[in-house]
């Protein structure tokens, strides 16, 4: 890829022409990975892995083994596609971190956001595909082992609380303290609802049916609606922050 012609062709570049002309193409590439990744995320979890909408927690081993038999191929393909693209979360959230570093709120919460989601992507995203992949891999495995993999996958995906709550808290506080207006203040208040859904999700660890179970109207469906609204707002505001970013500048170290 040839990006700029400022480096003289066919000769050793000198120290005198050090600054390339300001451009924002790199930022635009980093931004577009955000919607691209979350689109694929939807395909993997809704269409292939069949984790969303969630299958029931209050079922016997027969239902679970049938579930993996019915969706055998699509779950294994879903595992594959997720393994291929799940690094996109590092770009989507790394680019948010980049913008958080441009805030006047100091680097602490930018690093907290980065750490929380870098950790969270493993138990909160990858592990369900790994467990379900292991369950789908051998349909002749003992049903009680398949049922354990089913629970381990669903609970790690839907019941992952602290990594995300920590990152959301960091995001909200950083926005509220920031005076550079990188993200609007209302996005911070919306983010607080994300923390609330994580707190409500604590209940799915002790309920196997009803509104607070992992497929319940409150612990799951309300949380999914809030997540959907929040993610779209975050994406749109990330676009705006990227558009408003002056070319040729960088956040402080």
């Amino acid at each position: 890829m040839r990006v700029s012609a400022t480096v003289p062709v066919g000769g050793e570049p000198t120290l005198t022409d050090s600054q390339p002309p300001p451009s924002k193409r790199a930022l635009s590439i980093a931004f577009w990975i955000f919607p691209g990744f979350f689109g694929l995320f939807g395909v993997v979890f809704v269409v292939l892995l069949r984790v969303i909408p969630p299958p029931r927690p209050d079922v016997d081993n027969k239902y679970i083994t049938d579930y993996f038999e019915t969706h055998h191929s699509s779950i294994l393909i879903g595992l594959g596609l997720l393994c291929l693209v799940f690094g996109g979360s590092a770009v989507a959230n790394g680019f948010i971190t980049y913008h958080m570093k441009r805030m006047s709120s100091g680097p602490v919460f930018a690093y907290v956001y980065m750490g929380g989601l870098a950790v969270g992507s493993i138990p909160g995203m990858l592990l369900v595909a790994v467990c379900w992949g292991a369950a789908a891999l051998r349909p002749d495995r003992e049903p009680r082992i398949i049922a354990m993999l089913y629970d381990l996958g669903m609970l790690s995906f839907n019941g992952q609380l602290g990594c995300f709550a920590t990152a959301y808290l960091a995001f909200a506080i950083a926005i509220l303290v920031d005076k550079n207006n990188i993200f609007p203040k209302w996005l911070a208040y919306l983010t607080i609802w994300q923390i609330v859904t994580e707190v409500i999700a604590t209940q799915m660890w002790q309920q196997t049916s009803g509104p607070f179970a992992w497929n319940g109207s409150i612990a799951f469906w309300l949380a999914v609606v809030v997540f959907g609204v929040w993610l779209n707002c975050q994406g749109l505001m990330l676009k705006k922050a990227t558009d408003d970013h002056p070319a040729g500048t960088r956040p402080p170290d």
Partner: protein, 247 residues
């Protein structure tokens, strides 16, 4: 690299010196990991996904010692790749303004990828911990270990993509890494990509023990680590020259 005398107390001296230490840590741990890799019985040849539960359990029983040694070494030394990746992060942060966005994405992918590596070694070693465990339980641990070890290449792909993009957009007069490193990172990412789908088949080159998903992926990544180590050493050396710390 010989740093000039009389510059010991400068912060920028420490920055260069610690980066060189970090590269040494990774170089030594890479050598140790090569040993662990060479003696892991499960890799010579890589265990087939078609093995029965009894065969897998027997394998862990008969090779428990070497499996423990190699997985403990993997666990101890695997994350010592982190110093190298953090030197790369520091070097990306030295690049032109446009490349900065990729530094945080690179660091995030590094953290997540390292976690996956630690998880794989943990699962394999747990399977070897009680060789008398029921065969079907050893089989499920073995499956989980292989899935986690082979398939989740996505973080390494993003690391290489971010590094390549950062290098391409580092269009100042003094690029931190030469451009071919970006091309090479992308080629390695392409070689590793097919392993993601290794669980959809149980035999042939794309299976978890196959020529593409296992050998091509591992050799490509191993070679890349050595190359990255060398070019990062050169990048730190150039930083030392630019900052007047060496000649």
């Amino acid at each position: 690299m010989q740093l000039l005398s009389g510059i010991d107390d400068l912060p920028r001296t420490a920055n260069v010196r610690t980066q060189l230490m970090a590269l040494w840590v990774t170089a030594i741990s890479l050598a140790l990991m090569l040993v662990a890799y060479a003696v892991f019985p499960g890799f010579w040849p890589p265990m087939s996904p078609e093995m029965s539960a009894e065969a897998v359990a027997d394998f862990y029983r008969n090779n428990a010692g070497w499996i423990r040694f190699s997985m403990v070494t993997f666990n101890l030394c695997g994350l010592m790749l982190l110093p190298l990746f953090c030197v790369v992060t520091v070097q990306i942060k030295r690049m032109a303004a446009q490349s900065q966005a990729f530094a945080y994405c690179y660091l995030m992918a590094t953290i997540s990828g390292g976690t996956i590596f630690a998880l794989a070694a943990t699962i394999f070693a747990t399977a070897a911990y009680r060789p008398n465990r029921d065969a079907d339980l050893i089989l499920v641990l073995n499956d989980l270990g292989w899935i986690v070890f082979v398939a989740p290449v996505g973080m390494a792909l993003i690391q290489n993509l971010m590094l390549a993009l950062a290098i391409y957009f580092d269009n100042g007069a003094r690029p931190v890494y030469p451009r071919w490193v970006g091309h090479f990172a992308l080629v390695v990412a392409l070689a590793m990509a097919p392993a993601a789908f290794s669980m959809t088949v149980t035999s042939g080159p794309f299976a978890w023990n196959g020529a593409i998903s296992f050998w091509l992926r591992n050799i490509a990544f191993g070679t890349f680590l050595v190359v990255l180590l060398v070019v990062s050493w050169k990048a730190v050396h150039r930083q030392a020259i630019d900052e007047g710390l060496t000649e």
